[in-house]
Amino acid sequence: MAQRFKDVDWIGLFLWLFRAAIIVLVLWGTVAKIFFGAGNAYSASDWIDFFVSGLSQGSLYALIALGYTLVYGVLFMINFAHGEFFMSGTMTATVFIALPLSASGFLDRNPIIGMLIILVVAMSISVGVALLTERIAYRPLRRAPRLVPLITAIGASFFWQYFFRGLYGSSLIPFPELQALQGKFSFWGVDILKTRAVVIVSSVIMLIGLYFFVMRTKTGKAIRAVAEDKDVAALMGIDVDRTIAITFATGAAMAGAAGILYGLVFRQVHFFMGFVPGIKAFTAAVLGGIGSIPGAALGGLFLGVIEAVGPPLFLEGLGIPGGHQLKDVIAFTMLVLVLIFRPQGIIGERLAEKKA
């Protein structure tokens, strides 16, 4: 025993050094930036731009992260193909609905109705793809070792990516610009791009809606029951397969909606668009505490903001060239940092102990 403690201390020391080093670097950079003005001189509105753009990116991460968290909650599997659900709905809705509507002028005359149609189509396609994937690639493997569904998920991810590439081609597809969403809103003297504001507000609404869906409705209760214990839930008369399918569908619907918001902000879609946001959203889900809905939201927002603010703030302060290139490094380092402090994520329950 004594031997073991000695080693743990040694490891603990290393971890403390690691934490301290990162925190010192971040603080040093920040102080150098703010008080000594290293690098570029940013105005207050520049900082607001950094923050708001990070927030809107983060809310997209949050919406996608929900899918990971929900599925993880019930099945304990990383649904690697989730980014593809996000892509499939958006691509289809853009090609078949948004572009024709925009070309005919309908979209600009009735922006709200038009966007709703696009949204509904995107969400349904995402849900369809998700249900199909669940049925073919995941359901037969309920009892298989845990890594097996991870591999089929990876397979599904490749499959859908290249399936949709085959359908719609590999070129970049422009998402129509809405006249009504051009320009900026002004809140108390702060200018924010309308698209960003719309994304942030609608994400928050959807997150809250989802939270109530899971916490208050009967279906939500069933999802939580299945997450807690499938066998007991089945004994209580809950149709487990159906509930799992609903969970997938809910996550995919959120992803489909996120896809349309993505289209609004970045105004271009292509078959590869799901991969990187998918991985980032997964990171966000873990960061917030996987299995927890508020955790996913918080993780997503944190990740989006740190990616946007980190490079100009502490990387420039440290005098590192080409900081924006390194935002992924910041994101993942923050992940490690958070997980060292709290292995269960920012507000996750101790899943690791309980269920892993």
Partner: protein
């Protein structure tokens, strides 16, 4: 045991009989050996282009150019031309594998590729060592045609970064009269190379590079990047990246007040209708460096029509034109050096073919007038700068 022996003997006998039926032989005195194309057989050329993954547009576009060039050429000396498409994966290992595959087939006469410079480095070595000749439609890295590192069988119809980056710097400094510029790359050797050459040339001219930034090619939120660039106060922003990131930067730049009135410029990686469609009105007024495709060129019009008919899309990138020229040069050279037998057999000497391609001079292609130098640079040294006007690239300089 006895039966096996019998089988072997029979096979050998059959083989000898069939072998004896061959036609009369042409003499091959080429130091690198020859390709013999029997009557009725196609002439096989290979391509090694990136046709999967995130950069596939680049390679597919070139492959379409190659295919159209073969269509246009029709038969060469009575033989159909057949393309063996390979994937360079836009990576060193992909270039290596595709090159090994190509050189393992002795019937392949020449190679169009690679798409990416990273793939070109190992591929050019393998292909040259095996005595083959390759022409790349889109490698731009200076190292490939540097006298110290050039491989004997390597040529390209794409512009060396050195030419293009310097041309843009020249235009920005001397024509637009800007003194402070920023450059953005995406970590790809092509874009990083161009951005670096631009930086060096612009500084040499007396200008100042106020920001030199990088971004991930699959980034989505580029607003922070552009805010940083804008805060440095450039008059000119150069981002020689590919279409997805390029259109994203173009559109986002329009939303940043501090970049109002700042010149935006990109390179031939975005010179395609696809980019104009994706970037929409935001691209209006920006500058793009690249070969001049707009001059009254009947061949290019035919190429474009055929492209749209065959593949149902606007060109995915600009390099189909370079690929078209590369293929035509290769096929012309084959036509020139092939010895013809009485029965239609062709004998193509590898060294002769290589020499013929290197001897290309003043060839009027769709990308201009092409002359290959000793290090394999064939592109027309004239780089034009075009501006996006009313949704079209309009050449404005020189």
């Amino acid at each position: 045991m006895k039966r096996t022996l019998l089988f072997v003997l029979l096979t050998a006998l059959l083989a000898m009989l069939l072998g004896a039926c061959g036609g009369q032989q042409l003499e091959c005195d080429d130091p690198l050996g020859c390709v013999e194309v029997a009557p009725g057989d196609p002439i096989v050329i290979a391509s090694a282009l990136v046709i999967t993954g995130p950069n596939e547009q680049l390679g597919l576009d070139s492959q379409y150019g190659v295919e159209i060039a073969i269509d246009f050429k029709g038969e060469v000396l009575g033989h159909e031309v057949q393309l063996q498409p390979e994937d360079d994966g836009c990576s060193a290992e992909g270039g290596q594998t595709s090159a090994q595959k190509i050189v393992s087939n002795p019937q392949i006469v020449g190679v169009i590729g690679t798409s990416c410079s990273g793939a070109g480095v190992p591929a050019s070595k393998i292909i040259s060592d095996a005595g083959y000749t390759m022409i790349s439609p889109s490698n731009t890295a200076p190292v490939l045609t540097d006298a110290a590192t050039h491989e004997a069988g390597y040529l390209r119809t794409a512009h060396n970064d050195k030419v293009q980056g310097a041309a843009m710097a020249d235009y920005a400094y001397n024509v637009l009269g800007v003194r402070k510029a920023a450059a953005i790359h995406d970590g790809d050797p092509y874009t990083e190379g161009l951005a670096s050459v631009f930086r060096d040339s612009f500084t040499e001219l007396g200008g100042e590079i106020v920001a030199f930034e990088g971004e991930a090619p699959d980034a989505t939120n580029v607003e922070p990047l552009l805010t940083t660039v804008a805060a440095a106060g450039p008059e000119f922003v150069y981002y020689p990246v590919f279409i997805p990131l390029g259109s994203l930067i173009t559109k986002t730049a329009k939303e940043i007040d501090a970049l109002d009135g700042v010149y935006l410029a990109a390179a031939d990686g975005v010179q395609s209708p696809d980019f104009l469609e994706a970037a929409g009105s935001a691209a209006e007024g920006m500058y793009v460096s690249g070969p001049d495709l707009n001059f009254a060129n009947e061949t290019y019009d035919r190429l474009l029509t055929s492209y749209q008919e065959k593949y149902g899309t606007e060109p995915l990138s600009v390099f189909h034109a370079h690929a078209f020229d590369a293929t035509t040069i290769l096929l012309n050279a084959i036509e020139e050096v092939a010895q013809q037998g009485d029965d239609g057999t062709l004998l193509i000497g590898r060294q002769a073919l290589r020499d013929a391609v290197f001897a290309t001079s003043g060839y009027q292609g769709v990308t201009g007038s092409l002359t290959c130098d000793a290090n394999g640079d064939c592109a027309d040294p004239k780089i034009s700068v075009s501006q996006v006007q009313n949704g079209e690239f309009v050449a404005i300089w020189p």
